[in-house]
Every structure is written in C-alpha cells, then in structure tokens.
Amino acid sequence: MANPAAAAGPSGGARSFLQAVSTVTEEAPSPLRVVQMEGLAVLKIIKHCEEFAPALVTGQLLGLDVGSVLEVTNCFPFPMREDDEEADADGANYQLEMMRCLREVNVDNNTVGWYQSCLLGSFQTVELIETFMNYQENIRRCVCIVYDPSRSNQGVLALKALKLTDSFMDLYRNNGLTGEKLREKKLSWVDIFEEIPIKVSNSALVSAFMMELEPESPVSQCDFDRLKLQENMARKAAGEEPLPEEDPSNPIFKPIPEPSRLEGYLVTNQISSYCNHINGVAGQNFNRLYLMKALQED
C-alpha cells in the first residue's frame, strides 16, 4: 500500500518556495479557530479520494491564512507514490509545475497544508506526525484534511481538519516523549491532535448555479445511503441476511512492533476514534431500526 503521509512531505525542490511563503506569515500567531473550505476544494478532495479508494492518496491544499481563519480555496492531487529516488524527484517536479501552472491562472498560490484519505478513521500514525513537523517547519499555519471514503457510503461527509497541538510539537521536537516528560507536561493522548471545525463557503456564482441545477428530487443519494433503505429491504424480502454495516477487515489488528510511548498514545487516539465511530453507527442503526418498526406497524 502507498505510504500516504511520507508522500506528502515537502520534498527538497519545493522547500525553497515554502520557505519563501513562511517569511510572509511571520507575524504574531493568533490561534487557528476555523478552516474555511471552498466547495470546489471539498469536491476535488472527495473526487480524488473516492476514485482511488481503498488505496490511500494525498494532495496539497492551497489557500490563504487570514487571522484566525485558514481559507482552503483550492487543492491538487499528488500522483501515486512509487518507491525509488527517481520517482521522488519526479514528484517534486510535478508539485512545482502544478503550483506554477495554477499561479498563472490566479489560483491562490499558498500552501496551507495537505489532505489525505484514510480507512475507517485510522489516520493517527507516526508518518502523519512526521509530515506535519516537516510542513510546520516551513508554514506556521498548516492543517491536514482527512477524508474517509469508507464512511461516505453511510451518507456521512467524513471530512476532518487536524493539526498537532503546540505542546505536543514542542515535546516531539525535543525528543521529550518519555513517560517522565509526558507526565511533567501533563500531556495525555487527547492532547496530540486538535480538531478544527470546518466551514464550507461557495462563491455567489457557484451558489446561484447550484440553486438552479439541483435536481428536482427532494431526496438525495445521501438520504438513501443514510437510511440504507433500498438494499437491505430487498435482501430481507428475499429472506437473506441484511448487509453488514461495517467492513470486517479491521486494520487495527495488525501487529505492533515495540510499542513506544508515542505509538501507545496514537493507538489510544485511534481506539477512541473507533469508539466514537461505533457510537455514531450504532446511533444511526437505532434510528433505522425504529423507523423500520414504525413502518411495519402502519
């Protein structure tokens, strides 16, 4: 499987540009409160991630850093990674070329982070942290957008904006991830990642077009997915078992070599996000079941 996080790391060629960018954003930092994404960027990310699922893919986010709001106005995908040095150089060239081309047509030419797809919410990896540290060296304000294609089949728009907390980054930089230091700083597993709320914005032009073009039907694919009505009903009618709600191949059960403190924290994070996920799914299931019950009684 491709290694998503490492592929997203700024490579040698891109660094000079990123450094140039970082000098612009050198003013006093105010905390990041909201990531404001354009509908275009959302659609592009989803398109890329869905097309290649279940393979994991990454891409670069472009936008503007405006006070406590980070605007993501566009993005572009990275090609699938191949594991040799030539491909690395190729990737760097691709990135520069793409940035140059987009600048020519007035797209915001400012890297604000990267996006990546994940499976069943398992994005908490050491690679992601390393990529983050790499980006952070050059851009003060950067986020990682995580999209989970496996959940879109349930009618959930599984987009998340993440950053590392400052206290964790300090410790990580100074190799302070020993039990003692972690306790000293009172840093627990919840303090590694910080989720930032996402806002979606669209230009008035796009909004006007969508108002006119939206299909007449009052229900969307999304509603069908959420209610999961069609398929399971048909199966039940045919006397078959309903489809399983979850993918049974769960990637968490891979063997973990030599658990370090960091890995432990990350795994805890992962488990906690699985728990959230399970609760969400169970909540949806309860709703669906009571809906079926109501229908059956009518």
Binding site: C222, D223, G280, A282
Partner: protein
C-alpha cells in the same frame, strides 16, 4: 472527383452522442471565471473525462487554459495546455481530453478556431458552454459537437449542434447539495444530524403521499395511474413479515447494537484507567 458528380451539399449525419457533467467541473469553471484576468471576457479550458461504453461523454475534470482573444484571432497557450495535461495524466491516466469549455452563452465567434485546435487533440471533442453571466436569466449549461458543412470538397462552415446534457451530478449527491448550495455553511453535519435531516425529509414525503392519496379517494384530485403504481410498488417493497418474526429481528438487532455501544464504553473506560495509571506512577 466530386465536381464530376456535381456539387453535393453534405450535411453531417446526426449522431446520438450525449454528455454528462459532474459538479466539480461546474465548480472549477465558475471558480476560474471569478479568478479570470483583468479585461478577459471569458475563460476557456480543457475538459477531461472518458467516453462510456454507450457513447456518452462523461466529463469528470477540467482545467483552465490562458488565452488571448481579439475580434479576428485567438491565441491559446498550447504549452500550458500540454503541461497541465501531462500533470493530470500522472495522477489519473484514465482521464483523457474529451473537449473544451468556455464561459458565456452559446457558441461565439472565436470558438471555431479553438474547436479546430481541440479536434486535433482528440476525435470529435465536445464543447461545453457555461453561462456565467446569466444572460438569459437562468443558469444555462449546454454541450455541443461540431461538424463540418462542406459543398463537394470545399469546406464551407462548421456547424455546432447541441447534444443532450445530463446535469444530475450524481457524485455530488453523495456530499449532499445542502453544503454546495449556500454561500456559507457554518458546520458540517455529523452522523446523527444527517440522519435527522434525512428522516425529516422522509416524513415530509410520506405526509405528501398521504395527502395525495386522501385527495384522490375524496375525489378532489384526478387519479393518475402512473403515480398509483409507483405508490403501490413502494408499499409492496416493504417485506411482509409476521409480527412475531419482525419483533425477533428487531430485538436481535437492537441487542447487537446495544452490545456494540456497551463494548465501546468498556473500551473507553479502559482508556481512562490507562491514563490514570500513567499519572499514578508520578506519585509513587
């Protein structure tokens, strides 16, 4: 040779081509129009996608190409076009050039020249126009193919023929149009909120059908067999289970889900204990 047979006016054979456009393409075209250079009247660019087995052109991606236009000539940045295509090709080799787009209403003067260029890139390209100026007061998106009108072997003109365009944008339906329609959405819906809105919509639909059926029964509305059949199909799609069998199925599933929630709560407790143990070591 043609002259010997006498001049013949050749009309192009009507083809059954149609096109399908995804929302991301419309979004990108609108965005590039908003970001167009000063004084530029329109933006044009390349459409990428694939041709489906039934001949439908599926437009899935696009990028803008810088150009300059004066009344009698069009300059297209061909190098830019090729670079961009090469870059897109690296990411997704399955997406090939299928045509080009332009903003504005309908086909305009310089379009034949640009279309000629794209005809050399790909056989029978489509031309998509997006009326970003709302010149007719509505959001008009149209697709054309072009064919040559010739008299004998003399080329007379190029004819642009409108083809059917599917604007359902099925892939955007997965995201939900709610977040794509308004200029600002404060928060993405989570699992349960999404579920709630879907349930509400279902409620409204059921109420509407109730009202319709009542109206028909009371004679207020003329019955329509087609709608009647749809309703009966929908009702028939509910599996007929005996109350006992349904109760069992229902209760089993509820139990399963409760067990899931229970296990996840235990796991959470486990996590908090681990955290406490971590801090307890400090006191010792």
């Amino acid at each position: 040779m043609a002259a010997a047979e006498g001049p013949v006016l050749l009309f192009p054979s009507t083809s059954s081509t149609s096109a399908r456009v995804e929302a991301v393409v419309v979004f990108n075209i609108c965005d590039s129009y908003v970001r167009r250079p000063d004084q530029a009247e329109r933006v044009i660019g390349t459409l990428l996608g694939s041709v489906l087995p039934d001949g439908t052109v599926h437009v899935r991606n696009s990028y803008v190409v810088p150009h300059n236009e004066s009344p009698d000539q069009v300059a297209l940045d061909i190098e830019y076009h090729h670079n961009m295509y090469a870059s897109h090709h690296k990411v997704n080799p399955k997406e090939v050039i299928v045509g080009w787009f332009s903003t504005g209403f309908g086909v305009s003067g310089g379009s034949t020249l640009i279309h000629d260029f794209y005809s050399r890139e790909v056989q029978s390209p489509i031309h998509l126009t997006v009326d970003t100026g709302f010149t007719r007061g509505d959001a008009s998106i149209k697709a054309y193919i072009s064919s040559n009108l010739s008299l004998g072997d003399r080329h007379l003109a190029a004819q642009f023929q409108e083809i059917p365009l599917d604007l359902r944008m099925l892939e955007a339906g997965k995201v939900g149009f709610d977040i794509l329609k308004s200029t600002i959405v404060e928060k993405l819906p989570n699992d349960l909120e999404g579920m709630e809105s879907s349930m509400e919509k279902l409620y409204v639909l059921i109420d509407e059908i109730y009202k319709y059926v009542d109206d028909v029964v009371e004679g207020r509305v003329a019955p329509d067999n087609k709608i009647g059949r749809f309703i009966s199909d929908a009702v028939a799609s509910m599996p007929k289970l005996s109350p006992a069998a349904f109760d069992k199925l229902f209760n089993d599933r509820i139990q399963d889900n409760l067990a899931l929630v229970y296990l996840s709560s235990i796991t959470r407790t486990q996590i908090s204990i681990a955290e406490k143990l971590n801090t307890a070591a400090q006191i010792l």
